[in-house]
């Protein structure tokens, strides 16, 4: 017997929790469907106080308290179970204290620097941060209060996290959903690359030089072969379908989707019109998910 899990996925959040939750409430009213899970692909900026603000790697003019602290104190309630991974604009002191994952506020769960959970039968894996080869082989040596260098290196992906996730290839159960902030390298070859370069022409140089995307995430994508992969970071919507060769007659694919951030004029222009930009996918009957 099957049931449906309704999931919403958000790209970069940038402290706009109120906007995201309001949008979910509106969508629930509009569609009459109750959302089960919200996935955030990083840059939540879970800032509680002034000290946390100093641990966010953003220029001083962008350092805003926003409303996350109200979810911590209970002044506001998260209406839906929210799971997120870290990005490159986070209160890194909070995330570092929850290295293996944990609740940053009631109903808001951090997956950890790398983590795997099960939600209603779905296996959700995720990795925080972005790739930088300078710190990839290092340990996590940073401690708050961070120096200017540590403020950035703290969110760089480390080899140990990628290695641990790679061990999931020996697992008996496949990964259904993978969350990351950074893009896997070469993912643009599996979608409309020309369209991507039309929207973001300056990606051309980075693609050619191999600076765009994360090589370890590409390896994880090919190794774990999750059914869905969601990410954010580059502030552009980009879908792709990655075929995998399984060696048997059954073909497996990963449906990849990179999402934009919450920004006026794109996805959240106004309450009345923003739904035009939402794609409500009808029940997806994927062979591997039906067999869970």
């Amino acid at each position: 017997m099957q049931r449906t899990v309704n999931i919403a996925v958000q790209g970069c959040s940038h402290g706009e929790l109120d906007t995201i939750y309001q949008s979910i409430r509106d969508t629930e009213c509009r569609t009459g469907k109750k959302l089960d899970l919200l996935l955030l692909c990083g840059d939540l900026q879970c800032v509680r106080d002034a000290f946390d603000l100093q641990c966010v790697a953003v220029p001083p003019k962008y350092r805003k308290l926003n409303t996350f602290h109200q979810y911590v104190t209970g002044e506001k309630q998260s209406p839906v179970m929210t799971v997120f991974v870290g990005g490159n604009h986070e209160a890194s002191n909070i995330l570092q204290s929850l290295y293996l994952g944990g609740f940053v506020a009631p109903n808001i769960y951090f997956l950890g620097f790398a983590g795997v959970i099960n939600f209603k039968g779905l296996r959700i894996a995720g990795v925080s941060g972005i790739y930088n080869d300078r710190h990839y082989h290092c340990g996590h040596y940073e401690t708050p209060p961070y120096s200017e260098d540590a403020l950035r290196s703290v969110y760089h992906l480390r080899e140990i996290e990628a290695l641990r996730l790679e061990f999931l290839k020996f697992s008996s159960k496949p990964v259904d959903i993978f969350l990351s902030h950074d893009w896997p390298q070469n993912i643009w070859n599996y979608g409309k690359k020309e369209e991507l370069l039309r929207i973001k022409p300056y990606f051309q140089e980075d693609i050619a030089s191999g600076k765009l995307g994360s090589p370890p995430l590409n390896r994880l994508l090919m190794t774990l072969q999750p059914s869905f992969w969601f990410c954010a970071h580059l502030h552009v919507k980009f879908p792709a379908v990655v075929p995998h060769s399984t060696g048997s007659s059954e073909s497996k694919t990963t449906r990849f989707l990179a999402l934009d951030k919450v920004i006026p004029g794109r996805y959240f222009h106004s309450w009345s019109s923003r739904f035009r930009d939402f794609v409500l996918i009808p029940p997806i009957i994927l062979g591997d998910l039906c067999n869970i």
Binding site: V9, L35, I117, N118, F278
Partner: protein
């Protein structure tokens, strides 16, 4: 934002301990991986901490010294 509807079995699968509201669970295989790789990360962190805090600053100082030495030598 993107919305998905994913079908799963009605009884779900609870392969780990109950974490929250009987719906969000730890992944038991992941916990095993964390356990098995714990020593690995400790050893790696110690090694890299030594390189990051001791060797790299030393190399930087030696490099600066060499540059000034060469400038002095060929001046």
């Amino acid at each position: 934002m993107q919305y998905l509807e994913i079908p799963v079995l009605s009884n779900g699968s609870s392969s780990g301990d109950v974490l929250f509201d009987n719906e969000l669970h730890f992944d038991s295989e992941w916990l095993a991986i964390l356990s098995k790789t714990y020593n690995l990360i400790q050893a790696r962190d110690r090694k890299n901490l030594f390189v990051t805090t001791k060797i790299e600053p030393l190399l930087a100082e030696v490099t600066v010294f060499l540059i000034f030495f060469l400038i002095f030598l060929f001046h």
